[in-house]
Subunit: 202 residues, 2 copies
């Protein structure tokens, strides 16, 4: 039997539901014999296509969402706190991610996990390149290299290409999980995504 195709995990670094899913997705995939390709995107760019707005800015839905973020995190047993600045711009951590992924996909994933944990339970501001360089440094990456990478035109272009490709594929929120071409939106679709991995559809 040939190996099963990897699944794609799309997320925005400023998305609480993306963070929650990030704490579950590797284990779900692993127990179904799948690898996971992590793919940060930028919801701000996506929203220009859909006309959607960040959750906290929508009347009623905003207040509900803030409560649901924390309640859902507790439901999954995941440590969570709302960043002081929210939503924040995820361009810099996303650039760092794609720069690292060109060297070592596992290192890039560990950077993403560290950045998510710095932002959500940690309430640290991860929007700035300096902050991202500090996080990468904890994984053994030299600060100067990270600070140079976020200004590298090739890295900037890689992020733009990834976001454009995600939108073309139908990704319009965070998280999105793609299993053998089937799209699932939301941390609350992890159960359906897993069943799709097990069964190939229904």
């Amino acid at each position: 039997m040939s190996a099963k195709a990897p699944i794609d995990f799309y997320f925005d670094f400023s998305s609480p539901y993306g963070y929650i899913a990030s704490t579950q997705i590797d284990a779900i995939a692993a127990r179904n014999g799948r690898a996971v390709v992590w793919r940060p995107i930028l919801l701000g760019v996506v929203f220009k296509t859909t006309g959607m707005a960040p959750l906290p800015s929508v009347p009623m839905k905003g207040e509900y969402s803030v409560r649901d973020f924390a309640r859902s995190a507790r439901f999954y047993g995941v440590p969570y706190a709302m960043p002081k600045q929210f939503p924040f711009n995820a361009v810099q951590p996303s650039r760092v991610f794609y720069w690292l992924s060109g060297r070592d996909a596992d290192l890039a994933r560990r950077f993403a996990q560290a950045a998510f944990h710095a932002a959500f339970p940690g309430q640290q501001d991860i929007a700035a390149a300096e902050a991202c360089a500090g996080i990468a440094a904890t994984l053994g990456v030299k600060r100067e290299e990270t600070l140079a990478a976020v200004n590298d035109p090739a890295v900037k272009e890689k992020l733009r290409t990834e976001v454009d490709a995600a939108i073309k594929r139908g990704v319009f929120g965070s998280p999105f999980i793609v299993v053998d071409g089937e799209l699932f939106w939301g941390a609350d679709r992890l159960d359906q995504a897993e069943r799709w991995m097990k069964t190939g559809g229904w």
Copy 2:
């Protein structure tokens, strides 16, 4: 021990996720010792408050949602088909519901279930008073009485009052489930709503 408070189940008759939740909510509540108060609302009125739009009208999200409605129904093992006219105006079935609920809450619930099944697997147009009178007739309600009821000012006012009260409470979508004052939005929050019934919160 005193009896546990009933839970509230808010839905719009034209909402596929409301329909899906309607097939699950009574069993979930019953196994946790709860009654369910069914409360139809009108998303069109709610959207005027939030600025939100019907799912199918949002680029990308619209196409995804149509697929997710059917996939989620199959996931729950619920028969489903998209009504030919969608979304549709739910004023008339909602009026019939509240009129019947003033006589017999169980009859009103059976009307709601019959209307949902007519619309979703059945693809019947349930927006018109005539259609609603036909559905109520299968439950032994005289057609002329239903047709008179939807033009009764007291019935119209009851629906307006219910929708306004729902909005004041924070309901902005379909379905919403309220357990001891805690709001849960979406068919994909049935699991959290049930845990809240069991545990009183987390």
